[in-house]
Amino acid sequence: MIKVTNLIKNFDELEVIKDVSFEIEKGDIFGIIGQSGAGKSTLLRCFNGLEDYQSGSIVALGKEVKSLSKKDLQLMQKDMGMIFQNFNLLNRLDVYDNIALPLRFWKQDPKSEENKKRIHELLNLVGLEEKIHSKPRELSGGQKQRVAIARALVMNPQILLCDEATSALDPKITQDILALLQKINQELNITIVIVTHQMEVVKQICNKMVFLKQGKIVAQGKPEDLFVSSNEDILDFTGNDADILPDSGINIKLFFTNSNSKSHTITSLARDLDIDFDICQGKLENFRGRILGSLIINVEEKDEQKVLDYLKTCNVEWEVL
């Protein structure tokens, strides 16, 4: 769908994207995550030609974005809907006319039977039928984003680009919007690219991700794999647990995936080795319905080797912190 190869983008002297390569395939919900200023929104804007790039290539829907004429770029933009952090709805238009705006840009009659039907279907999809004649100022943040999603889908795009689409919303509403995006991905078979600084968003709906730091990719793959591996940059981003752990003894972090989550590693560890240890921290995380857990235990130094040897025999991943 979108293939990025050795992409470099500068703003004058400043290099904001540094030799980035990855591929987004049809049907993906692809996450681009990183801190503010990592270049993720700029990268997203290169996909639909809102920003240009200096070297490397972006092949989107089979075409090199940079080489497109203005007309062809507009045709490509028709195939890529986009939603934004601040929703970007026109305040003076009601919900219906906001959704119909792209139709007007493509010289279609927004009041034709076909388009009326289309807009009603979309309102139904996003669950806002009764708000059809409301103005944006009468809507909540979550409702505004729903209107923006309907607007982005009105031209039947193949790809939906989301630029920090949930960053201005509270956690509950974020959940609802993510569920809606997932539904759109599955039911309408639309590829979704999500730029976000919220780890939760990527965990919940993305099947692939890249982690961007200062314009470079420092990690890429499935969110659950990146969660288990202990990439310095990702740990740094999600908040390193090391600083709140005990200073004495040895801290060991255990990772539980579906295959072993139900075995009783911890209790059998204590029983079989006949030792005591502290459990310092434990958490369960949901990756698109797949539950992954991690647990940090603190063992006495004299027990370290015993415990590590024991863990090697268990079907569990671990690391010494």
Partner: protein
């Protein structure tokens, strides 16, 4: 006195509405060019923007009373004479154009850049963005800017009296001040205050209704 006041009021109204009409029509053009060529505009162009910006600033800083005298040849060429309410429209319009241009430009540039970006992302052309996003969103601000222009034109029409433009300002100066007839001063002031209030209230009502 009543007849004098009615005639003068009509002349003032004629000058205010005439000037507003012509200056809005003509002021739109530099406003659009300024918006398009601004550094954050759709077609950034430093040279065009700075030249136009300079011209607008120059004309705005001209004292009206001096401008009026300087443009007398232009007034004669356009209106055939340099005396009377119609002739006064020429200098009034020339001085109001840069004001209108600034007011409309700032209304247009007040549109959230996010909306422009969203429109671009849907494949809109520059023309469509100008009409369907900039003007659509900025309409209330443009209207309230035009009301502001009208009110300041009321002030300028008083000066137009100095070159025989007529109107309430002329009556106030000649009969009220120079002939020292306080009644004229009071009545003309009262009419102008009422007029400005009405215009402002209509403006506020429109702004509320549209936004």
């Amino acid at each position: 006195m009543t007849q004098t006041m009615i005639d003068a009021s009509l002349q003032t109204l004629y000058m205010v509405f005439g000037t507003t009409f012509f200056s809005v029509v003509l002021g739109f053009i530099p406003a659009i060019v300024l918006t398009l060529t601004a550094p954050d505009g759709l077609k950034p162009n430093k040279v065009v923007y700075q030249i136009l910006d300079f011209i607008v600033n120059t004309f705005r800083s001209f004292p009206f009373i001096i401008l009026m005298v300087i443009v007398i040849p232009v007034t004669r060429a356009i209106a055939g004479t340099s005396i009377g309410s119609t002739a006064a429209l020429v200098p009034l319009t020339i001085s109001a154009i840069p004001f209108v241009a600034r007011v409309i430009e700032s209304a247009l540039r007040g549109v959230d850049p996010g909306l422009i970006e969203a429109a671009k992302s849907f494949g809109a052309s520059d023309m469509q963005i100008m009409v369907r996003v900039y003007f659509k969103e900025a309409l209330p601000a443009i209207l309230s800017g035009i009301i502001l222009t009208m009110i300041s034109i009321v002030g300028y029409t008083a000066m137009a009296g100095a070159i025989g433009g007529g109107g309430l300002g002329d009556v106030a100066i000649r009969r009220g001040y120079q002939a020292y007839n306080l009644k004229y001063l009071f009545v003309t002031s009262a009419i102008l205050i009422v007029f400005v209030q009405i215009v402002q209230n209509i403006g506020n009502w429109l702004f509320k209704k549209l936004s």
